[in-house]
């Protein structure tokens, strides 16, 4: 039971990170980004590729130097920021202001495009994506906690706190103003374009963290984004697509409930949990948990 709980928190942290990334973009540019996890996966591939170059023998033997790892990960995150910014600037900016549904379709389309690119560049094989702490564990009684799990849960929490802080800063306030009303924000002298680019960049970094952490545990492959984006959207829904804290709690909740369902009902039913949860929230609390004062948007 305790073991499942920790596994649930670990998986929940991935979902929470993706969910928060979705919320950041939604808050700043009002786009429901279905390609969020796929964009993060690109960064994870880049980081892996660099690690493989820097520490060629190491990746195969699973022993990775700290320095190589830090450099590769940072590079991956920088690429993530650039990728998000470019996609915003080149693609989304032109069609900004469309309603949610066309933007959702647009990003569903983008998911397919990114998937093809990943397939062309890196191929279909799975790869080990080790971290310096891969395989290290602590034993607490009968329960086994891996360093990986602790770091994942820690990163999720840190991201939630930092993002929350960020939105309270003046730049964050600008973001919220843009989301609230583009035209008004512009007349207030806010650089709407810059806000959007930064928001997409930050969100993609957060998504990249989720994908890097997840692929360290489950290896790197094309399919990694699939399961995460659906659950990330569930987390975002629990946050009403506007509350970071809601999305964070939502992600953890989905993860923990999934693993508890596996333990007490059956591993068969595990993935139905997240899907049922969406319904419950949309029907009974469509504004989500911790919805801030932003009025719930209609399409």
């Amino acid at each position: 039971m305790l073991q499942q709980l920790i596994s649930g928190l670990e998986a929940g942290s991935w979902y929470a990170l993706i969910g928060m990334a979705v919320v950041v973009i939604m808050k700043a540019t009002d786009v429901p980004n279905f390609s969020m996890a796929e964009m993060g996966l690109v960064a994870a591939y880049v980081s892996w590729g660099l690690l493989d170059k820097l520490d060629h023998s190491g990746v195969k033997a699973f022993k990775v130097g700290i320095l190589a790892f830090v450099v590769a990960t940072l590079a991956g995150l920088i690429v993530a920021f650039a990728l998000g910014a470019i996609i915003e600037r080149v693609l989304m900016r032109r069609f900004g202001g469309l309603s949610h549904f066309p933007m959702l379709l647009m990003t569903i389309g983008l998911t397919g495009v990114i998937r093809s690119v990943i397939d062309k560049v890196w191929g279909g094989d799975d790869r080990a994506n080790p971290a310096p702490w891969s395989g290290r564990i602590w034993r607490v009684g009968d329960t086994i906690i891996s360093v990986n799990q602790l770091i994942t849960i820690g990163v999720g929490l840190a991201a939630a706190i930092l993002l929350g802080r960020f939105f309270q800063s003046s730049f964050g306030a600008q973001m919220r103003a843009v989301a609230e009303n583009r035209a008004v924000a512009r007349t207030l002298g806010i650089n709407v374009g810059r806000v959007a680019v930064v928001a997409w960049g930050i969100a993609t970094v957060v998504a990249a963290l989720a994908m890097i952490l997840q692929t360290q545990k489950t290896n790197l492959g094309q399919g990694n984004a699939d399961a995460l984006i659906i659950r990330g959207f569930v987390a975002a829904t629990i946050g009403g697509f506007s509350s970071l804290m809601g999305a964070f709690i939502g992600g953890l909740m989905v993860g923990v409930l999934e693993f508890l369902a596996a333990e007490y009902i059956s591993t068969d039913w595990k993935s139905a949990v997240a899907l049922l949860l969406v319904f419950v929230f949309l029907l009974f609390k469509p504004t989500g948990l911790f919805a801030p004062a932003i009025k719930p948007r209609e399409v």
């Binding site: 073991q3 998986a11 699973f62 397939d119 279909g124 059956s266």
Partner: protein, 418 residues
């Protein structure tokens, strides 16, 4: 009322015309070989009459296959394609079969059902192939059985489906269930008492479960856990947590390569490696290759048991060494060498059948000859088919290999389950 009249006005003429329309070319094709069978055609003096037999001309024999050449299963698809090519090049260099050169049509299905179905139909209807050899159409292959049964197109050596027990289909290697049964017997001999099953929620899982249910009682084991992982999912954690808390000392898996590695990583982290024997079928274990083991953390795959449908790719058996050399010379991707071996063996076995048909390629002659085949490819267990209802699983035995000190070692030669 008006509406109903209109519907009737449109549909009834259509239906009538449909009923009245003439015989289709397919029906002709179906009745073709039988109708045109020349009496006494296959006697020693006259040349056998192969008119109406699809894919056979005086100078060529056309074979087809459909494989996942791109996408998630590309390694397998490309390997299988290359193996077919090696065998075909070899026989053509030796003058073909009965003076006929072998031609192949290999289509890509990208692991997609609708494309697989239309590929099989294209091979039969448009390319008019004689037989479909070593197709690996994911789990959707059974969807084409009804069709190939009616078109009477032999399907020789489909890769790892359960045996459908229908006339045109011949399974050449041990099914997943048979492989895992052999593995469970081995676990029994090593003293395993509590068996757990981890399977995908599809055919793979169902076959692992069937193997456990058939073989556990024979080895005095109890099944202590049966857990599910989702297809293409990387999330095996919940299932492994449950298996570990069930106290199992043996695990059989019906999963994919990535999942097989992840399960072992987690068992290793829990410090249970060595006290639990983990076994999979040849597909998920990839014995001989590193499809699975390269995804394991250091040492996590030590002691891993993979069933073998064919000799290891590292084996020094003459036939294996030959194929290995040929494939290297042809610059074929060595990651799929086990698949190259497999389809090479399937294809040469098929040529063996064709050679024994003495130039009479009629369908009836094919399946009779195929059922009587007794052929040792040097790569697979001996191929012996026999008649239906039992006989189309032609290679019943499976071997076992263990991953030890970073490489695969054979621990048990080809055996049949208890």
């Amino acid at each position: 009322m008006k509406l109903r009249t209109l519907v009737v006005a449109v549909v009834v003429p259509l239906a009538l015309l449909a009923a009245a329309c003439g015989e289709s070319d397919e029906k002709k094709a179906e009745s073709g070989p039988a109708a045109t069978a020349a009496p006494g055609g296959a006697t020693g003096t006259t040349k056998p009459d192969n008119t109406g037999v699809p894919g056979i001309s005086d100078t060529t024999i056309k074979l087809g296959s459909t494989l996942p050449i791109v996408g998630t299963a590309a390694t397998a698809g490309v390997g299988l394609r290359d193996g077919i090519k090696l065998a075909v090049d070899e026989i053509n260099a030796a003058g073909g079969i009965d003076g006929r050169k072998v031609e192949t049509v290999v289509l890509d299905d990208g692991f997609d059902v609708n494309r697989l179905v239309s590929n099989v139909q294209k091979l039969v209807n448009e390319d008019k192939v004689y037989a479909i050899v070593a197709p690996a159409g994911s789990q959707a292959l059974p969807g084409t059985y009804d069709f190939i049964k009616s078109s009477r197109t032999p399907m020789w050596g489909p890769v790892s489906p359960p045996d459908p027990k229908i006339e045109p289909v011949f399974i050449l290697a041990a099914t997943r269930t048979a492989q895992l049964r052999v593995a469970i017997d081995y676990m029994g001999s090593k003293g395993v008492k509590k068996l757990a099953v981890i399977g995908q929620n599809n055919t793979l899982g169902a076959e692992a479960k069937a193997a456990a249910e058939a073989q556990a009682p024979k080895n005095g084991m109890t099944i202590v856990a049966q857990e599910t992982v989702e297809v293409q999912s990387k999330d095996v954690t919940a299932a492994v947590n449950k298996v570990l808390s069930s106290g199992a000392d043996g695990i059989v898996m019906g999963v994919d390569n990535a999942q097989a590695a992840l399960v072992q990583n987690q068992i290793n982290q829990a410090g249970k490696r060595g006290s639990i024997i983990v076994a999979t079928d040849s597909g998920a274990g990839g014995p001989g290759g590193d499809n699975t083991t390269k995804l394991c953390e250091p040492n996590a795959c030590e002691g891993f048991i993979g069933a073998m449908q064919a000799e290891l790719t590292t084996s020094d058996v003459a036939q294996v060494a030959k194929v290995r050399d040929l494939s290297q010379k042809a610059n074929m991707a060595q990651g799929g060498l086990n698949f190259i071996l497999q389809s090479y063996a399937y294809t040469t076995a098929f040529f063996e059948v064709l050679k024994k048909m003495n130039g009479n390629y009629k369908y009836e002659n094919f399946y009779k000859t195929a059922e009587a085949i007794d052929y040792d490819s040097g790569i697979l267990p001996k191929i012996k088919c026999g008649a239906l209802p039992e006989g189309h699983s032609c290679g019943a035995g499976a071997g076992l290999a263990e991953f030890k000190a970073g490489k695969w070692t054979v621990v048990q030669k080809f055996t049949v389950p208890k």
